[in-house]
C-alpha cells in the first residue's frame, strides 16, 4: 500500500513513466474540455469584456470588473464570508458525519445497513427549497426549537438561530453531511476490522485503537469528504439566500444577483473566475498540507 503522500504526488518511485492506464482519463478530459473548459473559457473572456459580444459587436477589453471587485469591501467581504462558511460547514460535517459513517461501515446486519443508508440518503432528496422551509420552521423565532426552549423555561427570549451565518451553516451542514458520510463509509469499511481488534488485544483502549489505527487509515476518506463538502458549500447560493436573510452575503449569491437581476453577465463572470481561482488554490493547498501530514505516517 502506498502512502497518501506518494499517491497524491504521483509516486516518486514511478516518476516519468506514464502507463497505459493514463488513457483511461481520456473520456473525462473530453467531457471537461467540451462542457467545462469551453463554456468556462467563454465566461472568463466575458469577464474581461465590456459587454456580450454576441449581442453588442462593439465590446472592448477591460479589467474594470476585477477592479470593481477588489475595490469594494462589500465584495471582498462576501468572498471571506463564502470561504468561512465553507470551512465551518466542512468541519461540522466531518465531526457529525464521521461517527455515523463509522457506525454504518461497521454495521454487520444487512437490514440495518440498508436502513441507515436510506436514512442518510433521504435528506439529500428533499429538494433544496422545501428543506430550507423545514429548517425555517425549526429555527425561526416562533419555530419549533425556540418555542420548545421557551416552554421548558431554558430561555425567555427566542434565540436568533436564523437569518444569520449560524442558520445558514446549520442548513448547509444538513445538506452535505450525507455526502461526507457516504464518502467516509466506503473508506472506513475497507479498513480491516481485525487491525482494530489487534490493537485492542495488544492492550490499547478503544479510543486509542481508534485514534492510532482507524483514524489515520481513514485519512483519504477524510480528505475526500471534507474537500467535497467545502467545494459544495462555497458554491451554494439557494441556502444562504433563504436562510441568511440580508445578513449573509456570499459570492454565489452575488453571482446569482448579477445574472438574474442586474443582468451583468460580465461582472458575474469575473466573480465566478475569482471564486474558482481562490477555491482551486485552497483545494490544492489543503491537498498538499494533508499529504505532508499523512506522509509523516507511512500507511501500510
Amino acid at each position: 500500500m502506498r502512502s497518501a503522500q506518494q499517491l497524491l504526488a504521483g509516486g516518486p518511485s514511478h516518476r516519468g513513466t506514464i502507463t497505459p492506464a493514463a488513457w483511461l482519463a481520456a473520456p473525462a478530459l473530453l467531457l471537461f474540455v467540451l462542457f467545462f473548459i469551453l463554456p468556462f473559457g467563454i465566461m472568463s473572456v466575458m469577464s474581461f469584456l465590456t459587454g456580450n459580444p454576441i449581442n453588442a459587436p462593439d465590446v472592448a477589453l477591460t479589467t474594470r470588473h476585477y477592479v470593481r471587485f477588489f475595490n469594494d469591501d462589500l465584495y471582498t467581504e462576501a468572498l471571506w464570508a463564502t470561504l468561512r462558511i465553507g470551512f465551518l460547514t466542512a468541519l461540522a460535517a466531518l465531526l457529525i458525519g464521521y461517527p455515523l459513517a463509522h457506525w454504518m461501515a461497521r454495521m454487520h446486519s444487512r437490514v440495518g445497513h440498508a436502513l441507515l443508508l436510506m436514512a442518510v440518503i433521504a435528506p439529500m432528496l428533499t429538494g433544496i427549497v422545501v428543506r430550507t422551509f423545514a429548517w425555517m420552521t425549526l429555527l425561526q423565532d416562533k419555530g419549533v426549537i425556540n418555542t420548545t426552549l421557551i416552554a421548558l423555561g431554558w430561555t425567555d427570549r427566542p434565540l436568533k438561530l436564523m437569518y444569520n451565518e449560524f442558520g445558514t451553516t446549520v442548513a448547509l451542514v444538513h445538506i452535505y453531511v450525507p455526502f461526507m458520510v457516504l464518502t467516509l463509509t466506503g473508506v472506513i469499511g475497507r479498513i480491516d476490522e481485525r487491525l482494530e481488534q489487534a490493537a485492542r488485544n495488544l492492550g490499547a483502549s478503544r479510543l486509542r485503537a481508534f485514534l492510532e489505527v482507524t483514524l489515520p487509515l481513514s485519512l483519504p476518506g477524510i480528505v475526500a469528504g471534507s474537500l467535497l463538502v467545502f467545494a459544495l458549500a462555497i458554491s451554494a447560493y439557494v441556502t444562504p439566500f433563504l436562510m441568511g436573510g440580508t445578513e449573509v452575503l456570499t459570492l454565489p449569491m452575488l453571482i446569482y444577483q448579477q445574472v438574474s437581476s442586474s443582468f451583468n453577465l460580465n461582472f458575474a463572470g469575473a466573480l465566478g473566475v475569482v471564486l474558482l481561482a481562490v477555491s482551486l488554490l485552497v483545494v490544492i493547498a489543503y491537498n498538499q498540507v494533508l499529504a505532508h501530514l499523512a506522509g509523516e505516517r507511512e500507511l501500510r
Binding site: M1, L7, L8, A9, G10, H14, T19, P20, A21, A22, W23, L24, A25, P27, A28, L29, F32, F35, L38, P39, F40, M43, P99, L100, M104, A105, A114, I121, A122, P123, M124, L125, G127, V129, R131, F133, A134, T137, G143, V144, H174, L182, T183, G186, V187, L217, P220, L227, L228, A231, I234, S235, I255, Y256, A268, G269, S279, L280, I284, N287
Partner: protein, 267 residues
C-alpha cells in the same frame, strides 16, 4: 457474531449517532407534516391530515412529466458518470500522469463553481453552436457535475488499495485484462457505487443548470417545483419532495438488490 458488551463507551457512541440521525431526519419529518397539512400555504403546526397535496401532485401532468424526465436523466447520468469517473480515477492513480494533484483539483472544479454560471455558460455555448437545448445537452451538463463525485469516492477507495491482491492474481497466471475485470473492478466497486448514488441524487435534484438547459414543456422536476413555488407556496412542493424521496429510495433498494451494495463494507 459475538454481541458487543454495552458499556459507557458504547452507549456514548450510540447516543451520538442517534443524535446525528435525529439531526438528519428532523427536517424530513417537518416536510412530511407540510405534505399532509391541508392549509393552502406551508405552515406549522399542522391543522390536520389530508392527502390533497399528493392528489394535486399526481393529478398534474406537468409534475408527472417532469418527474419522469428527471428520473430518466438521472439514470443516464448515473451510468455515464460512473464509467467516466471510475476510468478517470484509475488513470489518475495508476497512470502516473504529471501534475496528478492539479488534475485532481481541476476535475473537482465544476463543484466549486456556482452552478448558475455553469448553466449559463453551457447555455451560451449551446446556442452559439446552434444545437439549441436538446435533452442530451442537459444530460451532459449533469454528467459534468456528477463525474467529480464518482472520481472522489473512487479515489478514496483506491488509496487504501492493496495492490498485492492484483499481483497475486497475476502471478497465478491471470492476464492483465482478467486481473482488471475480476480483481480490480470488484474491489473498487464500493467507491464507484457510492459515487453513482451521488451522481443519481445530484442529477435528480439539480436545479440551476437545468434551469438554463431545459425546454419549455420538457422541464425537470426541480425546475417545475421552483417555478411553482414562486407563485404557490403550498403543500404540493412538500408532497413532491416525499414522492422523490420514496422513489429514489426505491432506486437505491433496487441497486442494492441488483449489485449488492452490502459488498460495500467488507471485502
Amino acid at each position: 457474531m459475538r454481541p458487543r458488551p454495552i458499556d459507557a463507551g458504547n452507549a456514548a457512541y450510540l447516543t451520538l449517532n442517534t443524535i446525528v440521525l435525529g439531526f438528519l431526519l428532523a427536517p424530513l419529518a417537518i416536510v412530511a407534516v407540510f405534505a399532509l397539512n391541508p392549509t393552502p400555504y406551508i405552515s406549522f403546526p399542522p391543522v390536520g391530515v389530508s392527502p390533497r397535496w399528493f392528489e394535486k401532485f399526481f393529478a398534474s401532468t406537468e409534475f408527472m412529466n417532469a418527474l419522469w424526465l428527471s428520473l430518466r436523466v438521472a439514470i443516464i447520468v448515473l451510468l455515464l458518470s460512473t464509467i467516466i469517473g471510475a476510468m478517470c480515477a484509475l488513470a489518475l492513480v495508476r497512470g502516473h500522469l504529471p501534475g496528478a494533484t492539479f488534475l485532481t483539483a481541476f476535475f473537482m472544479s465544476p463543484l466549486m463553481l456556482p452552478a448558475i454560471l455553469t448553466g449559463l455558460a453551457l447555455f451560451q455555448v449551446y446556442l452559439l453552436a446552434g444545437i439549441g437545448r436538446p435533452v442530451w445537452g442537459l444530460v451532459m451538463g449533469h454528467t459534468l457535475i456528477a463525474v467529480p463525485y464518482v472520481l472522489r469516492t473512487t479515489l478514496a477507495v483506491l488509496h487504501n488499495f492493496d495492490t498485492r491482491i492484483e499481483e497475486a492474481a497475476a502471478s497465478l497466471g491471470a492476464s492483465p485484462a482478467r486481473v482488471f475485470l475480476e480483481v480490480t473492478l470488484p474491489l473498487i466497486r464500493p467507491g464507484v457505487i457510492a459515487g453513482g448514488i451521488f451522481a443519481f441524487i445530484v442529477s435528480f435534484d439539480q436545479f440551476p443548470i437545468s434551469l438554463f438547459l431545459v425546454l419549455p414543456k420538457n422541464e425537470t422536476l426541480p425546475v417545475v417545483l421552483f417555478n411553482y413555488m414562486k407563485f404557490d407556496l403550498d403543500g404540493a412542493i412538500a408532497a413532491a419532495s416525499m414522492v422523490s424521496i420514496i422513489m429514489a429510495l426505491g432506486v437505491v433498494v433496487l441497486l442494492e438488490w441488483l449489485i449488492g451494495l452490502r459488498a460495500y463494507v467488507k471485502l
